[in-house]
């Protein structure tokens, strides 16, 4: 049926390209030919086809700034400005924020202190035990005790309180938008692309507008966190509601549900598993963002980490990094355990039998308060007893510098001189028209005219936004990092997919690493390579290798068993099974991994600008310093569109491929 819609001429081209024989090569040639053609004639192209002249660039920045200016200063009904409204709304967030912080650590007044650290730790144990079992309880207890004993209690609790406030608010916004989109098709059509862009926008792009409309500070950090985190929940709400089985929905109708009852009593509860995935993700996104939000003045762990990194106190930075890592691990494990927890029928009996964990929780709080009243060290771990690991880390870094400095320098310089800089120069020669041709050809081939059109729009935006060179530098760093990531990630993935034990271990490591806020990955990069392009690329590589590895394992391990058996039965060696059967079948999954790797790399490249690069990230930083909202958004969109271009092409390709392989 689909073929009817394609004009005959186009069909003929497609037939010819995909024709018999070496079709893979033919396709590649066909798709790349226009691109290389433009490159070849490059030197004779008129200048404006290579780089859009400055005065031709669309004044996006100016336009946005005009809008911002209007919103900031023009008064509605002569009463208040848009900024007044946003500030008023933002002030509301102070109440829950202050409250949670008071409960966790700050206290309401001198006579009503916050929870003692042993109470919070005890509650974490009870919660972990309740959600999954004793083991998780112990892990939770360990993580929180660590924060106290290593003298990071107050910072940790401030960070935690932001997460505890931002996550539910973001979740509520996300679910609400998701519900509306589910009910109204036109709203979904509108929302979906917005979500796509928002999820591809680098963290920093959110911060400047927030800073302008709300100001700098803890509150602004929280708001930025909320805005950053809610899209994932909207998306999952839509998916979850659409995934409710038609039978369950019919059961609701037959019971005589009204529309409202249907939503609240049937659809949302039935979508719980998907929504809970969202809860986990939103918590992790909030943590990642609140660490970064220190750039606009959020307090807590991120703030201190930022200061230490700025002063290059690597030991102390590492120490905070470890605490953030523990925070990430425990939030992730607890929220996942919550998502996976299945309801169980309650036992009969008095309160403490029916609700053993609630009883334990109450007991913990009461006992802690009583004990803390007598032993102050149980209220707040005293500074004098705090253990610090910073000297150890410093010693370690010294050792690395002493013993490995020369080698590290050698590696760095060799790569810089022989690979990175030549590669960068090559990229800088790329005319924007070549990118346009390339994107449109690929888009058309794999996704038809609509995809080609969107690709063209993205490419034109990049060309005309006025940051073409920066875009190319970003592209070069990202491509280099992605090449390294993919090579490394697929090797590890192939190795790990070799046996169930291996893959389990590797997956555990990856899962853990993936929960860390991206900012953390800067620490080892700076530690080893100081502040430069190379360190930035290293940080990207560490962070962005994870998805490729993960999806390589997934792809290889989910190849249908009977196909593998059939291959073995026809006499394939293990090597042949891998390369002739499993790899081709796993390839779509691996490509999606690479897709994510590109996204991660783009996110990281912006964060890495913090340690001195000359790409788009640097522009975003500069715009922050200049308080230039327009520029920060325009540049942020450059990054987002690069990601979305790759995303759309790879997805179109993977869909086509899966159809061919019958894997849908």
């Amino acid at each position: 049926m689909a073929e009817v819609a394609i004009p005959a001429g186009e069909l003929a081209v497609r037939r010819w390209v995909a024709g018999s024989g070496q079709s893979g090569l033919r396709v590649a040639l066909f798709l790349l030919a226009p691109f290389f053609l433009v490159l070849l004639v490059g030197p004779w192209l008129p200048d404006w086809l290579r780089i859009v002249p400055k005065d031709w660039s669309a004044p996006f920045v100016g336009w946005i700034n005009v809008v911002v200016e209007v919103l900031r200063t023009e008064e509605v009904f002569g009463l208040f400005t848009f900024r007044d409204i946003t500030r008023a709304i933002a002030n509301l967030i102070d109440y829950p924020l202050d409250f949670v912080e008071a409960v966790l650590v700050a206290g309401f007044s001198d006579s009503v202190p916050g929870l003692p650290w042993i109470a919070v730790t005890g509650l974490a144990i009870v919660l972990g035990w309740y959600l999954q079992g004793r083991q998780l309880g112990i892990v939770a207890g360990f993580c929180f005790a660590y924060m106290a004993i290593f003298g990071k209690w107050e910072l940790s609790m401030v960070t935690l309180s932001v997460v505890l406030v931002a996550a539910p608010v973001a979740g509520a916004i996300g679910v609400a938008l998701g519900i509306v989109a589910f009910k109204k098709a036109w709203f979904e059509k509108l929302l979906w692309p917005v979500l796509n862009v928002m999820q591809a926008l680098p963290h920093f792009s959110y911060m400047i507008p927030v800073a302008i409309f709300i100001g700098i500070g803890h509150k602004a950090g929280t708001i930025a966190t909320i805005i950053f985190a809610f899209p994932v929940m909207s998306r999952l709400t839509i998916l979850g509601l659409k995934g409710v089985s038609p039978e369950v929905r019919e059961a609701g109708i037959m019971a005589g549900c009204t529309k409202r009852q249907m939503l609240w009593k049937v659809e949302l509860p039935a979508a719980r598993p998907t929504l809970m995935v969202g809860v986990n993700q939103i918590i992790m996104l909030c943590l990642a963002m609140v660490v970064l939000a220190s750039f606009v003045g959020a307090k807590g762990l991120g703030h201190d980490l930022l200061n230490r990194l700025r002063s290059l106190w690597i030991g102390q930075a590492l120490e905070i990094g470890v605490v953030i890592v523990f925070m990430a691990i425990i939030l992730d494990r607890l929220s996942q355990a919550w998502a996976e927890k299945e309801p169980e029928h309650a036992r009969e009996g008095p309160f403490h039998v029916r609700h053993p964990f609630a009883t334990a929780g109450i007991a913990v709080v009461v006992i802690s308060y009583v004990l803390a009243a007598f032993i102050p060290a149980l209220q707040l771990w005293p500074k004098s007893l705090s253990v610090t690991t910073a000297p150890m880390w410093d010693a370690m870094i010294d050792a690395i510098v002493v013993y490995a400095f020369d080698y590290l320098e050698l590696i760095k310089d060799t790569l810089l001189v022989h690979v990175l800089i030549p590669m960068r120069d090559l990229y800088l020669l790329l005319p924007w028209s070549a990118l346009l041709v390339f994107a449109v050809t690929l888009g058309w081939y794999y996704g038809g005219w609509p995809v080609a059109g969107i690709q063209a729009l993205f490419a034109l935006y990049l060309a005309f936004a006025g940051f073409w060179e920066r875009t190319l530098i970003t592209a070069y760093m990202v491509s280099f990092a992605v090449i390294v990531c993919v090579t490394f990630g697929s090797i590890v993935g192939i190795w790990a997919a070799g046996g169930p034990r291996r893959s389990k271990v590797v997956e555990l490591i990856l899962d853990t690493f993936q929960t860390f806020p991206s900012f953390i990955y800067l620490i080892p990069a700076i530690m080893l390579f100081n502040v430069n392009d190379f360190a930035a690329i290293m940080a990207i590589v560490i962070y962005a290798t994870i998805p490729t590895t993960r999806l390589t394992i997934f792809g290889l391990r989910t190849v249908p068993h009977d196909i593998v058996e059939a291959a073995i039965a026809s006499g394939c060696t293990p090597r042949q099974v891998l390369w002739k059967v499993r790899m081709p079948l796993a390839f779509p999954a691996i490509m999606l991994g690479i897709n994510q790797t590109i996204m991660y790399a783009l996110f990281m490249v912006v964060i890495a600008a913090f340690i001195g690069t000359t790409d788009l990230g640097q522009e975003i930083f500069r715009s922050k310093a200049e308080n230039d909202a327009g520029k920060s958004l325009v540049v942020g969109l450059c990054v987002a569109f690069m990601g979305l271009m790759a995303d759309q092409l790879i997805n179109a390709w993977a869909r086509e491929r899966k159809k061919v392989l019958g894997l849908e």
Binding site: E250, A251, M254, A255, G256, T258, R272, P343, H345
Partner: protein, 346 residues
């Protein structure tokens, strides 16, 4: 029959495609097959007319994709038919406003689903009480009623369990209890036992019959298993590619299948267990000597076969009042047992 149908449909159509109403209108409400298929329409139900009488079990049968589920969902208006009438107690369901429809569903209809369709986050008790809850009945009342139904389906003591803590058979008992909680008049069951393994299925069929003897609901029951249909049905409607090709008692379908499609279903049936003496007897030939022994016309052949075969002479067949209305001999029994479907029809 003189009885009024409890629920009925007249000329119901359900077409999927671009503009189904337009297609029907263009062909005067009865488009020919080639017109439907040519334009890429999917005829899920075509021209269906059907009555379900009070207290009757009507089984709807057919191969996968023949339109059974769609037809039953048109009867409850879970699916909006493209054309036709659906009569519930003589009232056209397709014309009544949404509010009233909700009321009818809340009080007069119950439905059981193939994959149970339980709400995973609710206990057995809460699942069963759910239809009462959405009516706004207070908690004590609805839980009391729910407990009664739970006991009725044999799940007493499990009311605090969650669906995933129950076996498939138990889950479907919950589904049944939920559909019965509002004491509906009409009961729809869409392949309720197909997802269960054979032993449990048999047990659930017995359970279903037990409930029906007690409750006397009006039932539309879907299955694609003819043995199940025979066990449960008062009448069977057979569907093929959206059409109802035959409606009749199990015996009628076996003895007089309307076409090869129906005959295919009935081919492997154990006829002797299904057919009565009446369907194989003949009028006694003039002057034929009959044995003194007699069988009733309503006896199943399997139950009296021994008697007939052991007798040298044909037996008398009597009706309810003891009058002789026919004769049956060895030859009749053997013919029936070894007849192919085609011969049986002739």
């Amino acid at each position: 029959m003189v009885l009024d149908a409890k629920i009925a449909c007249r000329n119901v159509w359900k077409l999927y495609g671009k503009d189904p109403e337009g297609l029907l209108a263009a062909h005067g409400g009865n488009p020919p097959d080639d017109a439907i298929l040519e334009d890429g329409y999917i005829p899920a139900v075509r021209h269906a007319t059907l009555d379900v009488f009070p207290g009757e079990i009507l089984v709807i049968m057919g191969l996968s994709g023949s339109g059974k589920s769609t037809l039953v969902r048109c009867l409850s208006r879970l699916i909006e038919p493209t054309a036709g009438e659906v009569l519930f107690d003589g009232q056209d369901l397709l014309k009544i406003p949404a509010k009233e429809l909700i009321e009818i569903r809340r009080h007069k209809m119950g439905m059981v689903f193939q994959h149970f369709a339980l709400l995973p986050h609710r206990t057995v008790l809460q699942n069963v009480a759910f239809p009462l809850e959405v009516q706004g009945i207070d908690r004590a009342t609805r839980e009391k009623r729910a407990l009664e139904v739970i006991e009725l389906v044999g799940l007493k003591g499990r009311d605090g369990y969650y669906p995933r803590e129950l076996s498939g058979g138990q889950q479907q008992r919950v589904g049944i209890a939920r559909s019965l909680a509002v004491e509906p008049d009409v009961w729809f069951l869409d392949e309720p036992f197909s997802a269960l393994d054979p032993l449990i299925r048999r047990e659930m069929q017995d359970e279903f019959l037990r409930l029906q003897t007690m409750l006397q609901k009006t039932i539309a029951f879907i299955t694609h298993d003819f043995d199940e249909a025979i066990r449960l049905a008062d009448r069977i409607a057979i569907m093929n590619e959206g059409r109802i090709v035959q409606i009749g008692t199990p015996e009628e379908l076996v003895t007089r299948p309307a076409d090869d499609y129906v005959a295919n279903f009935t081919r492997d049936v154990a006829r002797e267990k299904l057919l009565t003496v009446a369907s194989i007897m003949e009028a006694p030939a003039d002057g034929e000597t009959l044995s003194d022994a007699a069988v009733r016309q309503t006896d199943k052949v399997a139950d009296v076969a021994r008697l007939i075969i052991d007798s040298e002479l044909p037996l008398r067949v009597t009706d309810g009042d003891g009058r002789v209305i026919g004769a049956v001999g060895r030859a009749h029994v053997l013919d029936m047992l070894f007849a192919t479907a085609g011969e049986a029809r002739g």
